[in-house]
């Protein structure tokens, strides 16, 4: 049953990911991206990573994509899309970059011969991917990266405020 769920959701994820590229209207692309994010979160659930699945929806589908949609609606994109600025150099540059990415993907997938889902074992409360294990991990083994990330985010927030500030405000 899990395999069937995996296949259905994976097909939806890939289809909506392709739809992001195919659609001309940026709003439809944004909506397809939301579809991809939601189906990825179901995939996380089948891997027993409930916390990541919930955070995926709350942060990406819920907060970030709402801002995307918000901006697209405010900019009020005209119906007749002007053709994207053609920069021949950039286009040629895309080929080597894309092939490096594809090569990397094959390199990562190389050791996988048979597609199996990991079978969870032990106490379900302490499995990888629950709130408990992620919280404990963040505040013990990964304390320094965690704090550095929070400083980074704080810098971004302060930077955004400085940029958005009007003169004489």
């Amino acid at each position: 049953m899990e395999k069937a769920l995996f296949i259905i959701v994976a097909v939806i994820a890939v289809a909506s990911a392709l739809n992001i590229l195919i659609q001309r209207n940026p709003l439809y692309s944004a909506l397809s991206l939301i579809g991809t994010l939601l189906s990825l979160s179901v995939l996380y659930l089948t891997l027993r990573a409930q916390f990541i699945a919930a955070i995926q929806i709350v942060v990406y589908a819920g907060a970030i994509m709402v801002l995307f949609v918000f901006v697209i609606m405010l900019l009020n994109v005209p119906k007749a899309q002007p053709e994207v600025e053609k920069q021949k150099g950039l286009r040629l540059l895309a080929i080597p970059f894309a092939s490096v990415l594809i090569a990397e993907m094959f390199f990562v997938l190389r050791p996988i011969r048979v597609l199996t889902l990991p079978i969870p074992s032990g106490d379900p409360e302490q499995a990888v991917g629950t709130t408990w294990s992620i919280g404990t991990g963040l505040f013990s083994d990964y304390l320094l990266p965690f704090e550095v990330t929070s400083v980074l985010i704080l810098m971004a927030v302060v930077g955004a405020m400085v940029l958005a500030r009007r003169e004489g405000d």
Partner: protein, 344 residues
């Protein structure tokens, strides 16, 4: 396994039927409470078999009327998104309820049945996730109607919900510090230990102030007055659902009242001990009764606020959310963790 699946299916269907009926009667309650607060009588004509019954059949009459209304799709509207948007706001509202516990355990037909549809160890995050997905229904409705009032309503709503989600989440953190779990069943169980019904979170020191923040933020999340700017009728005609008619309009109304019921249920679960109450340990059937009483009281509070408090202006709403509620919630997290560290 088959038995378990059957149990889930039955519970889901029963909850669904109860919720949809409850939505119908919350609209009647809204009209009655509004009438009483404004010194009127309210709907009292539609009854059964010639008896008036205080207008108890009013929701059925309203429903029939709405079904037979003409269903209009504006010619300039984005057809598919226009049809899709009401469903997108109704479905998350319905899905939220499966993690809320409404009782402990009862035995029925020789089986022990737990009175919650399902439990997950990220229950509260699941609720927050669905709330944030529900925004899309309103935003897309506003955009796809191709009407500037609708668009303004949708944009206001998305900005408002993102802003107040932050305060909501931060105020929930204080509760989590006490309960140590995101599982709603666990949160309710934690509240039953200390002196029976006095173990409710609302009686703990900083959490009573946290409840005020939580309640204000959840009023904003459910678009209730004083935060009902997305549908401010004096400025935006009706807001995001201006162009909607017939059952599509009803779906938005249903989603709105479902959100109200869900918000009240979450508040009950987090702060008022859920189904806990006197004698509930001996008579587990009392659990759902206490739960419903508490939820109805909170719904009444929301209606009371709606008909006595004027609406905020948009900039006031944003300033209040970011400059008052969010800092207050952060201060409360610090106070709560200090109290837990030094007292408990």
């Amino acid at each position: 396994m088959t038995n378990l699946l059957l149990e889930w299916a039955i519970k889901t269907i029963v909850i669904l039927i109860i919720l949809v009926t409850a939505v119908a009667y919350v609209t009647l309650m809204e009209r009655k409470v509004m009438a009483w607060i404004q010194m009127r009588v309210g709907p009292n004509r539609v009854g059964l078999f010639g008896f008036r019954l205080w207008g108890l059949m009013q929701p059925a009459a309203d429903g029939l009327k709405m079904i037979f209304k003409e269903d209009i799709v504006p010619i300039q509207a984005n057809r598919w998104l226009y049809i899709f948007a009401p469903a997108l706001s109704l479905i998350p509202a319905l899905m939220t309820f499966i993690v809320i516990p409404y009782g402990s355990e009862i035995s029925l037909f020789g089986r022990t049945i737990e009175l919650h549809v399902t439990r997950m160890n990220v229950g509260l995050l699941y609720v927050l996730a669905l709330t944030s997905v529900g925004v899309y229904g309103i935003v897309l409705a506003g955009w796809s109607s191709n009407n500037k009032y609708s668009l303004m309503g949708g944009l206001r709503s998305s900005a408002q919900m993102i802003s107040y989600e932050l305060a909501l989440g931060l105020s929930i953190v204080c509760v989590l510090l006490y309960s140590g779990s995101l599982d709603l069943v666990e949160i309710v169980n934690k509240q039953s230990v200390w002196l029976g019904h006095m173990g409710w979170n609302i009686f703990r020191f900083p959490l009573m102030f946290v409840f005020i923040i939580f309640y204000i933020a959840s009023l904003a999340e459910t678009n209730r007055t004083p935060f009902d700017l997305p549908e401010a009728d004096s400025e935006l005609v009706a807001g995001y659902h201006t162009e909607y008619s017939s059952m599509k309009f009803v779906m938005f109304q249903m989603a709105e009242y479902l959100n109200l019921i869900t918000a009240s249920s979450i508040a009950t679960t987090l702060f008022f001990g859920g189904w806990n109450g006197p004698f509930v340990g001996r008579l587990p059937y009392l659990g759902p009764v206490y739960f419903v009483i508490k939820v109805l009281a909170l719904i009444f509070l929301a209606m009371w606020i709606r008909y006595t408090v004027p609406r905020f202006r948009y900039d006031q709403l944003m300033r209040f959310g970011w400059k008052a509620l969010v800092p207050a919630a952060i201060v409360n997290i610090i106070i709560t963790s200090t109290v837990i560290l030094f007292v408990a």
